[in-house]
Symmetry: C2
Subunit: 157 residues, 2 copies
């Protein structure tokens, strides 16, 4: 297996083609980590969520990290890491355009409101994706890095 750093363009292509990320945020000194769905557009990652622990963490400390995998059938992989800051797209007038942009991007995908809108059985579940409790947010990107690992039999670039 050999490994190499990805270029900025290669990282952008992976962010544009994938939808599933892992998001890390921090509660005091304790990190917290969950999978999320996102859409990459105009150098931001857009997503949405129900209220909960990750939203509480990101409101308290906006520094977050996301990691996106691209895996095929073989042992090789590509991995992109985004360091950035949480920006909540609330209902304030100055953010209405960004909030609508987030909705228009996310709603292009089937079942886009899952799992962000889901709560476990026995807890309150909203009836639709436009329920007032849904929180749209985007990631203001500070840095993007990436790596690729490939089979030893493949040519090193």
């Amino acid at each position: 297996m050999w490994i190499r750093d990805l270029s900025a363009l290669e990282c952008s292509k992976i962010l544009a083609s994938e939808r599933l990320a892992h998001l890390a945020c921090v509660d005091g000194r304790q990190p917290y980590l969950v999978p999320i769905y996102f859409v990459y557009s105009d150098h931001h990652l857009y997503s949405f969520s129900m209220p909960g622990h990750k939203i509480d963490c990101m409101r308290s400390n906006p520094h977050i990290c996301l990691q996106v995998d691209e895996r095929g059938q073989g042992p090789g992989w590509k991995s992109v890491i985004v360091q950035g800051r949480y920006q909540e797209l609330d209902v304030s007038p100055e953010l209405v355009r960004e909030r609508e942009h987030a909705w228009s991007l996310l709603s292009k995908h089937p079942f886009w409101w899952e799992p962000g809108s889901l709560k476990p059985i026995g807890q309150a579940v909203p009836r639709s994706a436009d329920h007032y409790e849904h929180i749209y947010f985007r990631v203001l990107i500070d840095s993007v890095t990436g790596r690729e690992a490939k089979d030893p039999g493949t040519q090193v670039p």
Copy 2:
């Protein structure tokens, strides 16, 4: 799609059957997130790594979070989140047994030293997995929680 909390036993089974996790650690107020390989044994997660940013973070702040996915072909998934603390299994005499235990667990898997032993092309690469710079560590588990999401067509338990 419906969602439910997993029992402690269900979480343990997933940790015992999977090898790939996402690990979040913290550098000051900034989280950092990487995929790692691990083995679950006697209520610890064992792994190893080359020196680098995640090791620096965990030495500075031992609080970490790991997330493990179990995904099939369909849209359903299971996700387990482990909150815990980093313990480095260094070469001190009181940890020699735990370090050997980590090695014996990890070395059962083919290519177990990848990607932990890999550095990008152009950076120094160790020649073998027992290179002195390799760092074995385990996670002292504080809490484990899990969720399962299933197709709406499947029966709610």
